[in-house]
């Protein structure tokens, strides 16, 4: 399956990864080689096979809904590029 540069750009935008024109070309080329390779999975008939999403055989463990830890707000914003009074500061979301 051939992936076009437009397609690469579309997916990169979805993933919020900006690619410049050089990167777009090389990523596209690499992607096509890899996709050609993974196409070999089509050799297998998996029509009656269940997918494996997780290799552990138990369901997600549950616990009582009660507060067991109270992380300090200062810790939460300690690494923030921009913060104010324990809030994360970002550019305007609604223009």
């Amino acid at each position: 399956m051939k992936i076009s540069q437009a397609e690469v750009r579309r997916v990169a935008t979805l993933a919020r990864v900006e690619l410049d024109d050089d990167e777009l070309e090389s990523v596209g080329r690499d992607l096509n080689r890899i996709l050609d390779y993974v196409a070999k999975l089509d050799e297998l008939d998996t029509s009656t096979v269940e997918p494996t999403a997780q290799v552990v055989d138990f369901a997600a463990p549950m616990r009582t809904d009660e507060v067991t830890s109270k992380p300090a707000p200062e810790d939460a914003v300690a690494n923030a590029p921009r913060s104010d009074k324990n809030f994360f500061v970002v550019p305007n979301i609604i223009e």
Binding site: L41, V49, V55, P91
Partner: protein, 503 residues
């Protein structure tokens, strides 16, 4: 360097722990010896090993002195009290820079320890610093690190393997007696093989992933590296066991792996999968593995030919599953709450794109785009769902093989350490370095690599053992039996340190 210092840095984890408990040597002396050796070998020359991203010498000495106080009081001591240990920079460590070898986490200093780190501290370990890796654990040579180069201690023109290259190199060069890494597609076992050390990946779910920066959540596992099987077992026991903060954590305590460690090879059924000895395997690697198999047989093990027919589909399966999961996991790096932020003047969406463009290296971007593509509308069934089904087939192969054998023995890597820069132009070629280690991650099995010889270039060859889920005691027993038979006692050639001058 004094003879005494060399003698101290020759100590493994178990030996060090015994000498410390006997008050034969202090943790401060021991830690200082390893730090001195690290300073001499790791930085400062063009051929330096470069295993560490951040060496925390002052903190290590403080920890060592605290350990000495505990030892002096005859306090009940935990098994790693006073033993220096280093960590791949993928482990969240309180107040220590944690970068995942990426620019996007430059300056990030966590305010908490992950579970493995907390358990190591409880066990009394002296944490010496953070080790180099491929960025976000994506790579097989540590060349994808955005923050530095790590060289193989056996040949400084060669890679140490990856993604836990720093963890393997530091142990091989005896800068530290033990280290921890992570393994998603072979990232502990392959560098262990290329650097001539022991490295182990537990059964998926045995060791907590809480506080381990996520690459592919259904594949990632934490594991130890050391210079002996016994040391590796001790390190594994110190961190394994249920953690309520990791919902994929198996609800069982750490198994006792040292009790049966010396039970030997007699009666062991060793499976040999033909698919792992096929085309593309370096003849010297094959020769070394065949010699080990013959030795096991002489010791009373029986060799069983087994088939794992879906082996050839493992790399393709992995590069869909792992990249898909990675594209999701790496979505959190957006410049909002931590890490690199750029382009905020252009608005929020621009900030996301600019931060991620500046912060992520080429391989990371490639995998995020590939993974997003595999999950996107219209392609999910053809790629991700298909890969999940093939994963089931791969697991079944192992289940069936283990009906006829106790462990599997294979080469860890199709060849030995390659030259820096020799595979960076060809991502697919790089991916195929992991062809022998990937299936184990897809199936969630425990696996271990140990050195079984050197090739004609003097580079280490690794033998891989795989065991059924939860069978770590058996895995370590088989590994110890192999280790005894191999008698690997070679060391990387020492740099000339006379007068303190490196090359």
């Amino acid at each position: 360097m004094s003879e005494l210092t060399d003698e101290l840095t020759d100590l493994g984890v178990t030996q060090a722990s015994q000498r410390l408990a006997a008050r034969d040597v202090s943790s401060e002396e021991l830690t200082r010896a390893f730090l001195e050796r690290t300073l001499a070998l790791d930085q400062g020359t063009s051929q330096a090993i470069g295993a560490y991203l951040e060496l925390s010498a002052e903190s290590a000495l403080d920890q060592a002195r605290a350990a000495d106080a505990l030892l002096a009081n005859g306090d009940p001591t935990a098994p790693l009290t006073g033993v220096p240990i280093a960590l791949k920079d993928i482990f969240i460590t309180r107040d220590m820079a944690t970068t995942c070898a990426s620019r996007i986490l430059a300056g990030f200093k966590p305010r908490f320890d992950g579970t493995v780190v907390a358990r190591l501290r409880e066990a009394g370990a002296v944490i010496t610093g953070k080790l180099n890796m491929d960025e976000f654990a994506m790579g097989s040579s540590t060349e994808n690190s955005a923050l530095g180069t790590t060289r193989n201690p056996w040949n400084h023109a060669c890679v140490p393997g990856g993604s836990s290259g720093g963890s393997a190199a530091a142990v091989a060069a005896r800068m530290v007696p033990g280290s921890f890494g992570t393994d998603t597609g072979g990232s502990i076992r392959q560098p262990a093989a290329l650097c001539g050390v022991v490295g182990m990946k537990p059964t998926y779910g045995r060791v907590s992933r809480y506080g381990v920066i996520a690459f592919a959540s259904s594949l990632d596992q934490v594991g130890p590296l050391a210079n002996s099987v016994e040391d590796t077992a001790l390190l594994f026991e110190a961190v394994a066991g249920h953690d309520p903060r990791d919902s994929t954590s198996i609800p069982q305590p750490a198994p006792d792996c040292r009790g049966s460690l010396h039970d030997g090879a007699k009666g062991l059924r060793v499976g040999v999968p033909g698919e792992y000895f096929g085309e593309g395997l370096d003849p010297e690697v094959e020769k070394s593995l065949r010699a080990l198999l013959a030795a096991l047989e002489r010791e009373g093990a029986s060799l069983v030919e087994v088939e794992l027919p879906h082996t050839e589909y493992a790399v393709a399966t992995y590069y869909i599953v792992a990249t898909a999961e990675a594209s999701s996991n790496l979505g959190r790096y957006d410049g909002v709450r931590y890490g690199l932020r750029e382009g905020e003047d252009g608005g929020l969406t621009n900030m996301y794109g600019a931060s991620r463009d500046a912060g992520f290296g080429a391989e990371v971007k490639r995998r995020i785009v590939l993974g997003s593509y595999a999950l996107s509308a219209g392609y999910y069934d053809a790629y991700y769902l298909k890969a999940m089904k093939v994963r089931t087939l791969i697991r079944r192969d192992f289940d069936q093989a283990f009906e006829n054998c106790d462990v599997l023995l294979t080469p860890t890597s199709p060849d030995t350490a390659f030259e820096l820069g020799s595979r960076t132009d060809d991502p697919l070629k790089m991916y195929l370095s992991d062809v022998l280690t990937i299936p184990c991650n897809l199936a969630g099995l425990p696996g271990l690599s140990l050195p079984c010889g050197l090739d004609s270039k003097g580079l280490p060859i690794g033998a891989q053992l795989l065991a059924p889920p939860l069978a770590e005691p058996l895995l370590f027993r088989a590994a110890r039996a192999c280790e005894e038979l191999v008698g690997f006692d070679q060391r990387p050639p020492e740099q000339d340190l006379a007068g303190g001058a490196g090359k």
